[in-house]
């Protein structure tokens, strides 16, 4: 059974009902993915337009039920600011649910790119051991010794603060991880019996590498991807926080925390706290998912 098949849909559901942690992680990830699709359209306000009401605090917990009733029955002139507004008048709630479109898409595309490139290079480096692939591994070593956060910051700031440049910078820092993981797995798979069998049947080396060794060497990289997606979200947010990420008024969690940071010292907590909770839960969700997959497939 190939590992691609082993990671099919039915296996992603919790095997035991008691595995609540896995369920929690999966729920968080599904919600964030859903928000990445519909988030920018379902918020009560336009996430990129300011309103005249600046620094409105969120309703207190006791007001929420009444407010919710009034909102449902349509007796409110304007929708409530569930998470308040920030110092420029942006509705925090609309921006928090619109942000996965930015954060998750950057993380997914960057990981997709580095996974593709990393697996491809890792397969070559593991299957064909020669001077060229050795040189490639040394280059990969050098790339991996770059300090991650500072390298990403340098790449984005010098190439220009755009979404596509963030994606490229992240792909650049993550590719060596996938190269190394895939190469190690390919090296352990290619000496196994099924490869010998495929060779005896007259398959060409290229076809053995792609059709037999590759599918059996994907598991470590795929497990790593689920953890790295979470870290990519942290990195994206961190870049915005230091002024080397997406530009305002893009709804992005790190940028929201950063613009709220100046107010927090004066007690205006809501513009920073809500997007922070969103990042915190999202990355935790991906970590839990990655951990569950790791435990499931490492044992075998």
């Amino acid at each position: 059974m190939s590992s691609l098949h082993a990671l099919s849909q039915s296996d992603l559901l919790p095997r035991r009902r008691r595995d609540w942690l896995f369920g929690l992680g999966l729920t968080i990830v599904v919600i964030v993915v859903a928000l990445a699709i519909v988030g920018p359209y379902v918020g009560p306000y336009d996430p990129t337009l300011t309103t005249p009401n600046v620094s409105v605090p969120p309703p207190s917990l006791s007001e929420i039920p009444g407010l919710f009733g009034a909102w449902i029955s349509g007796s409110l002139e304007v929708p409530p600011n569930w998470m308040g507004t920030d110092a420029s008048g942006f509705d925090v709630f609309s921006r928090v649910i619109a942000a996965p479109r930015t954060d998750l898409v950057i993380a997914l595309v960057a990981n997709g790119l580095s996974l593709l490139l990393g697996v491809f290079l890792g397969l070559i480096a593991g299957y064909y051991r020669n001077a060229a692939t050795e040189l490639m591994m040394r280059v990969s070593d050098v790339m991996q010794s770059f300090p991650v956060f500072i390298s990403a910051m340098v790449l984005v700031a010098l190439a220009g603060r755009s979404t596509s440049n963030i994606v490229i910078a992240l792909a650049f820092v993550y590719t060596p991880i996938y190269v190394r993981l895939t190469r190690a797995e390919v090296m352990s798979q290619k000496v196994r019996g099924f490869v010998e069998a495929a060779r005896a049947l007259g398959n060409t080396e290229l076809s053995i590498a792609i059709r037999h060794v590759l599918p059996n060497s994907l598991t470590p990289a795929l497990i790593q991807a689920s953890v790295t997606i979470g870290f990519a979200i942290l990195l994206t947010a961190g870049l915005s926080f230091v002024g080397a990420g997406v530009r305002p008024p893009t709804p992005e969690w790190g940028l929201m925390i950063s613009t709220g940071a100046n107010q927090i010292i004066l007690g205006e907590w809501w513009p920073s706290v809500f997007p922070g909770i969103a990042i915190s839960l999202t990355v935790f969700g991906f970590a839990v998912l990655g951990n569950a997959l790791e435990r499931r497939y490492d044992a075998s």
Binding site: P147, V148, I150, M153, G238, F241, G260, S272, V273, F284
Partner: protein, 342 residues
Amino acid sequence: MLFRYISKRFAVGLLQLIGLTIAVFFLIRLLPADPVSRLVGMNASPEAYAQAAKQLGVDRPLLAQLATYLGFQPEISPGLLQGSFGVSWVTGTPVTAEIAAYLPVTIELVTLSFLLALAVAVPVGMFGALNPGGKADKGVFVYSLFAGSQPEFWWGLLFVYLFFFTLGIAPAPLGRLSPMTTAPDVVTGFMTVDALIAGQFDVFVEALHHLMLPVFTMAFILSGPIIKMVRQNMARALQSDFVLYANCAGLPKARVARYALRAAMAPSMTLIGILYGFMLSGAVLTESVFSLGGIGQYAISAVLNYDYPAIQAVVLVITAISLVVYLALDLIHAAIDPRIAY
């Protein structure tokens, strides 16, 4: 044997650093940024632009610039071979001196955070491994996953809101000392150590007070992966034959746990080294929340001002420190674990 191992590691590390130097040098020059117009302004005359380019030396061919940077042309300006990172394009100060001023701040922060994180995480991870499958172990496990996947800059802000704004027990996040205090003479660059050397105990306490929240923030994030690792290695050690033997021989439980911890800490050293290198660069965010003015904040301003010599120096220095830390921890690994020989 040991000497040969160390010299081999140094040689490999040196090659890696040379590769890194050249890679960084070309990489930042390949990117479509124009440091000259950043420096003279968008509306500068072509003459002023050419003048500035000449002054920075960027009008020369790339290979000639690299040769100067590496120090093969000391008659033009000293380079890496002469121990110089060049002159900052923005401040005009030698980068080496700037790094020497900013780096200790980060090392102090990261080291204290590690000590605190280890002091908390090792007992907690051990506790989890000694009671496998229990409610407490599950709690420890979930905590470690959670702490390891958190945005530290957000927690820093949260701590500021809680401990500075609400409770008033922490100082404002505006530096290493309050603006009214005169800093002690710089000897090591570590504020706490310098205060002690100067015999100013009140400044020492104040420096610790200002480090409290940043260290809490980083130690919280660090505790996640450390607990996870200690718990895993400890569980593995507890299942090994020598623990079974020690138990059969009737040794007291606490003593067996101590032996197992020693075997569990040895492989943990490598990961701690990797984490330390990672944190030197990751401290950027914590430093900027608390305005500590370390190497991370220096990197931010270098990057945003296109100060190429400073960018190159930061990347090189952090990588070099990481490599030395890996080597040191590998040696400690060998010293703790009698099964390892070089």
